[in-house]
Symmetry: C2
Subunit: 389 residues, 2 copies
């Protein structure tokens, strides 16, 4: 098996990009990544696209050849793949792309994630998102994604004593990080009082506990590690990978305070990277809701079960603390174009490992982790990225 | 790179399966393939699912963990992936699964394709299918998939003198083959007169020139070739693989009588297999419309450009002739549950190479090919399968 490196990254601003179409954001992120990597279009062997629901948001399936086509690659007739895994599309697409290079079947591969969510109304968007839960046993009875995560939050508070203020601390931290990220959707700092006083979405979660609906795209370029130095002085190795699944329906889980898919994906990723949680300096973890980040930092092994809330409140996940979590602002403040989020996480970690993150730079960053989930945790993907010196 | 073998296959009947849900057909095909391969659920490392539009047909995204969950695999938390490439979902899923085994990341992998299309009305189904063409430049103006293929047919008739009778010969042959396949959707033979006299769908294509809407699933099990003999006496090697893309919109193509994506995918597949078109004894080619099969058998190199029609009319693609094309009945008679078709092709070829096809058996079958396209040919995937003696 060949080692694989990331040699280029690119992305768009996340937000309500009403003047840009799906194909335009896909192209923008892709061309930036290609330019960043120093490759030409002539060298691309394959394209993988992470996307959740273009069929419903923009009435367009078959988006992988579409992006290749509108990027000017149609004369090259490269193979294209779309990968869907609900919120974990981006990381699952990276996993498939990684395998394609590791196998020797392809050499230089572009992996992009994109979603255009704001061309439909909020109610319709919530319905589209709820199709990632179990349609026959959850969504059809009116359970929204927010309501399912609210149940997890309620149970976590009951079992571990997690407080409303600790949930709020996640949002406050991620907005603070987002304020330092020029391409974040939300660049305003918020206070705990603002989070606690916001209108409820699904109690105990309020408006500021929820990541937004967004448009946006993020792209990375891969090649075999032993070719990487031809293109860049700062390749980043995919040092660890783990992926796992769970029941689609929340009520079938062993314990809704833990995502077993995350626990298992993380174990596999640490095993393949020959590293442990304490080796990780920075992590982009899935924070579609504040509770999700608390559960994630526990399940990934950064904190013991039940200690995610107090640790966050104590600042142990802030920038340049014990572990810098969601330096980009996370889904919460960087934005949440679903198919793009997993790759936006990777883009952020790569930029951190290259030392390009200015005011939000993690000092001496060498090893970072990304964690991307789908639905209420029926899919989880963990990657560990390491700077190559 | 490790060689990869198919060690088990399974499928459902194709048709209007109103008493079975999406998850039930997925499980049925999966369990049959697992039983056929001699593995246990405990040995499965990953699941890949080919599916086009479950988000629209059954309001359910995130179908890969759903299938694992309802197959009883949730306690094993295996990684799951959904691959979408319009009509080529099944073959694209096989390609990703192949890479995952070839790379050494996974060993025993299940690849299933499924679609449940008949729970919506015909008009809605046609709209869902048209989302695989270019929404902004084709579908929004009312172009259906049938109308786009009708244009290809008209141009092929104009340029090469292909006749209406030659198109009909495709349908007659595939229904004849389907009549010999116990799990085909249509098991009735039809006459050229029936095809020519059928109501028009998009002229020159009539009702019998079009594959049906179907429900169904098909699954295969992969492992490294050097492990295959532990499970089966009759492994089938994935000897060749090629995949390619093209412009999503038909009007942007160089020539609408040829699918360049097929031509390039076939060249790559023959190159990797170290074989030529004349080595292929049987082929399952994409025949969502009769014209598609004629274009395919030319683009794959079995016949010269323009000779697909006369060759079919002369019986050179019939069972046990020059090359046996669509022995299963093809999409036309075996049925067309979109996400499953590419894997149903593979299931048929594997059964032929094992000599299990009874009245439709190709004599001495050793090498077969599958050809699966998406949209109007913006995606094409070719696999070459070979019996291991």
């Amino acid at each position: 098996m060949r080692d694989v490196a990331i040699i280029g990254v690119g992305d768009t601003k996340f937000g309500e990009l009403w003047d840009l179409s799906f194909r335009e954001i896909g192209i923008e992120a892709g061309l930036k990544a290609i330019e960043d990597s120093g490759i030409t279009g002539q060298q691309i062997d394959a394209l993988f696209v992470g996307n959740m629901s273009a069929g419903k948001f923009i009435e367009q399936e078959h988006v992988a050849p579409l992006v290749a086509d509108y990027s000017g690659l149609s004369p090259r007739h490269i193979p294209t793949f779309r990968i869907e895994s609900a919120g974990a599309c981006g990381a699952a697409a990276l996993a498939c792309a990684h395998m394609s290079v590791a196998s020797g079947i392809y050499n230089i591969v572009v992996v992009g994630g994109a979603e255009k969510m704001t061309d439909v109304g909020d109610t319709q968007a919530a319905e589209i998102l709820s199709a990632t839960a179990d349609q026959e046993w959850e969504s059809v009875f009116g359970a929204t994604i927010a309501s399912l995560f609210a149940m997890m939050a309620r149970r976590h508070m009951h079992t571990y004593g997690t407080t409303r203020e600790q949930l709020a601390a996640v949002a406050v931290k991620n907005h603070k990080n987002g304020s330092l990220n020029p391409i974040a959707q939300y660049r305003k700092e918020i206070t705990p009082e603002m989070v606690l006083g916001a209108p409820p979405v699904a109690e105990p979660l309020g408006l500021f506990d929820c990541a937004p609906l967004s448009d946006g795209a993020a792209t990375v370029v891969l090649c075999p590690l032993d070719m990487a130095k031809r293109f860049t002085d700062t390749p980043v190795k995919i040092a660890g990978y783990g992926q796992s699944s769970d029941t689609l329906a929340l009520h079938d889980r062993r314990d809704i305070c833990t995502m077993d898919a995350t626990v298992i994906a993380a174990k596999k990723a640490f095993h393949t990277a020959k590293l442990a949680p304490e080796d990780i300096q920075l992590a982009e973890v899935h924070d579609n809701f504040t509770i999700t980040e608390l559960i994630a930092i526990e399940d990934l092994g950064f904190f013991k079960k039940g200690e995610g809330g107090p640790s966050t409140e104590d600042g142990r996940t802030a920038l340049n603390s014990d572990i810098s979590v969601n330096t980009s602002g996370g889904l919460k403040a960087r934005g949440q174009p679903v198919g793009a989020t997993g790759l936006a996480q990777v883009v952020e970690v790569v930029r951190q490992l290259r030392g390009e993150c200015d005011k939000r730079q993690v000092d001496g960053a060498e090893i970072g982790l990304t964690h991307n989930i789908g639905g209420t945790g029926a899919s989880a993907v963990v990657h560990i990225l390491r700077r190559v010196n």
